[in-house]
Subunit: 329 residues, 2 copies
DNA sequence: CTGAAAGCGCTAACAA
DNA sequence: TTGTTAGCGCTTTCAG
């Protein structure tokens, strides 16, 4: 059933029906007529037909590298909360860390499918830049800072610095590092720079033999910890770029009888639910993921309302969650 | 720019352009002409205009109660993987456990916005039933069994039964239970029934004082465990409906010096990443969440292809992951 | 405040 | 194989 069939059924004009579903510039008797007919027929207007004319999809595209990650699902939850209140729905693309899919969804979103885009990417390239510039709708990047675009990001460098400093201040002097791919500017590069800054400031030097690069997984953290402890210069504190990596490293320590925090202090970033529940509760930098999602959504909303054109960067603060894994006197 | 402007620019007819983007029933020279013009103009066809005619959205609506849950994000990942391969995108609605939003999104999806619906709900009502019946597109329910509709579900009763039996077989004789809202048939009711079946079969009786109903959270598990241990008849084994609840209960035990598994064996359901990492690794029933999502998506795909009308129910198996929390001789 | 009618950008039937 | 053209279902002027 389409709008004119329905209008006939209701005994009103097509425009009356259209107005009923939109601004409601309508007399009460017609309104009642329409509501009665709605009850009878179960008619629903077609969203795409509306979009063809009005150019409004009420859809926001969200591109993310994976779903089953605590940080990403928290961010997405924040996005969905804010956007939902404004009547937007999410068109979700899970790229499964596949670079090609990231690009192709950006292409897809140029087909007037969405009113705006939120991108949670890990690695940025020139192709990203050129595609984002060609975008006809506003876009916001969450979790990374990318000059020339709207971003909501964390203070990754500061967080890594503070956590490392926390351990050095407690007397550690052989700091080790397990980081992530440095092409990921936020979780990879910046967290490494924060670690290095703290080490250098403490008057120590960064020992390349005590620095590893892991994947974002527990297993990888485990492997890298094993490697770290295979050398003769054993670390007495370990900064990990994520809680997951730290958890893997702790698993190794438990197996080998390396005591935390006595033999080795350890901390992560992200303050995951799991970190609190580990056999030694993990000190971590708390990043406000849900807030990041909310702020990203708010930024996008304001972009979609007025084409300001000024791009903004918002950096969120972090908090230090100190727990037993660094509880050395 | 629209299709006719673009066709003019390219020097071909509109149908040539339309064919280029669809079946490709097209001579090579025109194809080249179009591609050159595409390069020049960056033209992209409008998806909604296409949908108005073709009635195909290439969108599947996914309704879920929350995002930041391991089980749900795993299911969603499975859905997205299968559907993505077939060129479908996800229109995600996060209801935040709000019943009203569940209903309103079902309404929303009647506006020809999607080609199919996947519903991950916890509690089913008659309103769900009537709305789902009115649906113009196929729908699949994942995680719950609901007669008369397409479902992919777990063997919740069996899983709870096996985990409880595991502990009773090891000599426990005062079994306790922390479950979820029984209106949630899968995680609430069936897991309770499984527990009760195992207890009864072992020749024991279910002690109502040793049965609690918690929310799906660690905090709630903690509180209920406290309550459980406040009575004089202390349990010697505890079955929890989810790993999260079990983790909360274990936190309480650790605080109070209740030794696991010596004083209390404990197990959960879901086999979460966190469970493996707890201070005593948690025995749990492994449910194949990602597989559930994949199978749900496959079922939906086949429904969308041919209106079979026959509704199917698929129940997935579970596996037992035995760990230290039940490692009593 | 209301209804008629002209599109929105595209697809698909049809004629060539 | 192609191009012309009539819609898809809706919104939005515009004249009443």
């Amino acid at each position: 059933m389409n709008i004119s069939e329905f209008a006939k059924e209701a005994g009103v004009s097509v425009s009356a029906v259209s107005r009923y579903f939109n601004n409601g510039y309508l007399a009460d008797d017609k309104r009642a007529l329409i509501e009665a007919a709605l009850e009878r027929t179960g008619y629903m207007p077609s969203y795409s037909a509306r979009t063809v004319r009005s150019k409004v999809t009420k859809l926001v595209g969200v591109i993310l590298p994976k779903l089953s990650s605590e940080s990403i699902s928290r961010i997405t939850e924040g996005i969905s909360e804010v956007l939902g209140e404004e009547g937007f729905e999410l068109l979700l693309v899970n790229t499964a860390n596949d670079y090609k899919r990231e690009i192709s969804s950006l292409e897809l979103f140029r087909q007037n499918r969405v009113d705006g885009v939120i991108l949670l990417a890990s690695v940025f390239t020139d192709l990203h830049r050129s595609l984002l510039s060609k975008m006809r709708v506003p876009a916001v990047i969450v979790g990374q800072q990318f000059k020339g675009f709207n971003c909501v990001c964390h203070n990754d460098l500061g967080a890594a610095y503070s956590m490392t400093k926390l351990m050095l201040d407690k007397g550690a002097c052989r700091p080790a590092f397990i980081g992530a791919n440095p092409e990921d500017k936020a979780a990879g590069l910046d967290r490494r720079l924060g670690f290095e800054k703290a080490v250098t400031e403490a008057g120590l030097t960064v020992d390349p033999k005590l620095c590893e690069t892991a994947k974002f997984s527990m297993d990888s953290g485990y492997e890298k910890a094993k490697h770290l402890f295979s050398g003769k210069n054993r670390p007495d504190c370990l900064f990990c770029a994520t809680d997951n990596i730290a958890a893997g490293a702790m698993l190794y320590c438990r197996e080998k009888g390396i005591l935390i925090p006595d033999d080795l202090m350890i901390c992560g970033v992200g303050d995951s639910r799991m970190g609190k529940m580990l056999y030694v509760p993990l000190s971590s930098a708390h990043l406000h993921y849900k807030t990041a999602g909310k702020e990203g959504a708010k930024m996008l909303l304001s972009e979609m309302k007025n084409e300001s054109g000024v791009c903004r960067i918002m950096q969120l603060k972090y908090d230090i969650s100190e727990r037993e894994s660094t509880a050395r006197q």
